[in-house]
């Protein structure tokens, strides 16, 4: 099902992930978040931007621990944990945040 953002149409797969990663723009994340009844705050964007940077370097989303550690270093230790990430992304940082960031869905035994 395609999604509309910024007056353009973007192709997504059956689970709502962007098909072409290079299509991504911030408006897509806003639209996806609205579909999930979430409003993106600066805290959300910190995570989304980190995911994108990491993906650029490693061609994979960061491990949960890598993500929580990075968040902890940047935003303080009380936020460097899964609970904080789940409070921002209730469907899971790996899955929901990756989708907003235009990354492919992590697969496997996770």
């Amino acid at each position: 099902m395609p999604i509309e953002a910024n007056g353009k149409t973007f192709e997504t797969d059956e689970e709502g992930y962007l098909v072409n990663l290079s299509d991504w723009e911030p408006a897509i994340a806003e639209v996806m978040a609205a579909q999930d009844e979430l409003e993106l705050t600066d805290e959300h964007w910190e995570i989304i931007n980190f995911l994108r940077e990491y993906y650029d370097e490693y061609q994979i989303a960061p491990a949960v621990r890598v993500l929580t550690k990075a968040v902890g270093k940047k935003l303080g230790k009380d936020k460097g944990n899964s609970k904080y990430l789940y409070s921002l992304f209730p469907y899971g940082p790996g899955k929901q945040a990756c989708r907003f960031a235009g990354l492919p869905k992590p697969t496997g035994c996770i």
Binding site: E14, E57, V64, R65, V66, G108
Partner: protein, 513 residues
């Protein structure tokens, strides 16, 4: 937690057999492969073939001729009813097609129609039916509501193994281009990148260096998590979720600490960075073999003497029961050690030899119970005694914890209830069956939580750990009440082999200054 768009069953402290509800789960189907590469990379047609009817029957005949067990299972059922209340998916959904016999009959009725004399001439008398598109879709639906946990086979007087029937059905579906997205995409990734997650070498390396840093910060000891080290004694093959997810990674930290204290040299491998083997879930011997061969290749290239498997349920079934046939002979490994060895077996050996100093009090805030993972419990063994697969993980936990409680005896050991996410079902599009299928396990957990003060459940399977993380909150528990067994070990182990600060960490810090 995500909101449920289905009814979450009510928890009791015991199992109640529900009154049947015909078709209760008929609506549930996982996503079908859309990207043809995910089929063709595995050797299957890219999409559903036009002559699927004949091809499916041809494959069924082929499988019956290749696996005598399958034909026996399809022939032998006498409808005694022993299995009917043994499947967690039936107990959680009340759909009679989720009774093991109901599930088997979906394939059996077609087998009878085309492969037995009575079925050919008197189909109605023997419950034989034509293969129709409806039947095909029903196979797709209900053979993806089986986690191949084999609990039913424990109770079947003929030993009929529904897992094998479900694997055969999935293989038939794959052979006509009607495969499941989740499994096939993952197997394609293993063939291409080396693990289920698609983690490239540099990402694994980054994660492992991060772990070294974390252990240093905590304990001021440099515990190494080596990757691709040629000449190491031990190759550790572990599920890629151990690099990625929680609580899995805490288990990986624990394995490293045990190896460190044991003073052995070990390594992980970029190319064999996955213990799991989804080839088994789809019943494909060819894919299972291809996935297994990576381990042999890595072991040869790295010139290791031993192979140890991390905490992964179905990987251990394949490792223990099939690896030698699939990828052997392993005559190049040291014959003094089991080929392969389970990490729990390794750790328990070290504990028995007095090599590890353990401070149990570090786990005093935890009262764990142990969830026997189905493939370890019913499809393998561990160590050199029968029942070792039950005793060794418990021995390890008891050696590192002062408090340990077992769940009800009908729900552990050989009779363990599946976590609800095994066998290729650990995907969001099957969340309804995952949550409902977890009911019997959650019931048993509730009982020990309320009556005996259990705080956590520990497991030795990546799928179980992820599944619990997801389903525990649906039943009012916390997502972090699931632990890795080696996480408990990691908490208790005293690091006596002092090693200096990692050189690269010092460099990093100098740069910061």
């Amino acid at each position: 937690m995500a909101k449920a768009d289905f009814e979450v069953p009510e928890l009791k402290k015991h199992v109640e057999v529900p009154a049947i509800k015909e078709g209760a789960m008929a609506h549930l189907k996982p996503f079908v492969v859309k990207n043809p590469d995910h089929n063709t990379d595995l050797g299957f047609p890219g999409e559903l073939v036009d002559d699927w009817h004949d091809k499916a029957l041809e494959k069924l005949g082929d499988l019956c001729s290749r696996y005598r067990s399958l034909q026996v299972y399809l022939d032998a059922c006498v409808k005694c009813g022993s299995c009917t209340d043994k499947c967690h998916y039936f107990l959680g959904t009340a759909d009679p097609k989720n009774m093991p016999v109901g599930r088997q009959d979906l394939l059996r009725k077609v087998y009878r129609r085309y492969f037995t004399l009575a079925g050919k001439y008197f189909p109605k008398l023997v419950g034989a039916e034509d293969l129709t598109r409806e039947t095909l879709d029903e196979w797709y639906s209900y053979y993806h509501q089986c986690s191949q946990c084999r609990r039913c086979s424990v109770f079947c007087p003929y030993g009929i193994d529904t897992a094998e029937i479900s694997m055969a059905a999935r293989e038939i579906l794959d052979s006509i281009g009607y495969g499941q997205k989740y499994c096939n995409e993952i197997i394609a990734k293993v063939h291409k990148v080396g693990n289920n997650l698609g983690l490239p070498g540099p990402a694994i390396e980054d994660t492992l260096l991060g772990l070294e840093e974390d252990v240093w910060d905590e304990d001021e000891v440099w515990v190494k998590y080596p990757l691709d080290v040629e000449g190491a004694d031990i190759l550790l093959v572990t599920p890629s979720a151990d690099f990625f997810a929680e609580p899995h990674v805490d288990g990986l930290i624990g394995y490293g600490k045990v190896f460190h204290e044991a003073g052995v040299s070990w390594t992980l491998s970029t190319t064999a960075s996955e213990a799991g083997n989804f080839g088994m879930f789809i019943g494909s011997y060819e894919n299972m073999r291809r996935v297994s061969m990576r381990i042999r290749k890595a072991a040869l290239e790295l010139k290791v003497k031993r192979i140890v498997f991390g905490e992964c349920g179905h990987a251990w079934r394949i490792a223990y029961s099939f690896l030698n046939t699939l990828a052997g002979p392993f005559d190049f490994l040291d014959p003094n050690y089991p080929v392969p060895q389970h990490i729990c077996e390794f750790t328990w050996g070290q504990i028995q030899d007095g090599k590890l100093e353990l401070d149990k009090s570090e786990n005093d805030e935890i009262t764990p119970t142990f969830h026997d993972s189905c493939n370890v419990a019913r499809a393998s063994r561990m160590g050199d005694k029968p029942g070792g697969q039950f005793e060794i993980p418990r021995n390890v936990i008891k050696a590192v914890c002062n408090n340990y409680v077992d769940m009800h005896h009908d729900t552990i050991g050989e009779q363990t209830f599946c976590c609800g996410g095994g066998g290729g079902l650990l995907t969001d599009d099957l969340m309804e069956i995952r949550v409902k299928g977890a009911l019997p396990r959650m019931n048993a957990l509730k009982q020990v939580v309320e009556d005996q003060g259990v705080t956590h459940v520990a497991a030795i399977c990546a799928i179980c750990k992820s599944q619990f993380t997801k389903v525990l909150p649906y039943y009012g528990f916390e997502m972090d009440q699931i632990l890795s067994v080696h996480q408990l070990v990691s908490n208790a182990i005293v690091l006596n082999r002092k090693t200096g600060k990692p050189e690269w960490l010092e460099e990093d810090e100098d740069e910061d200054e």
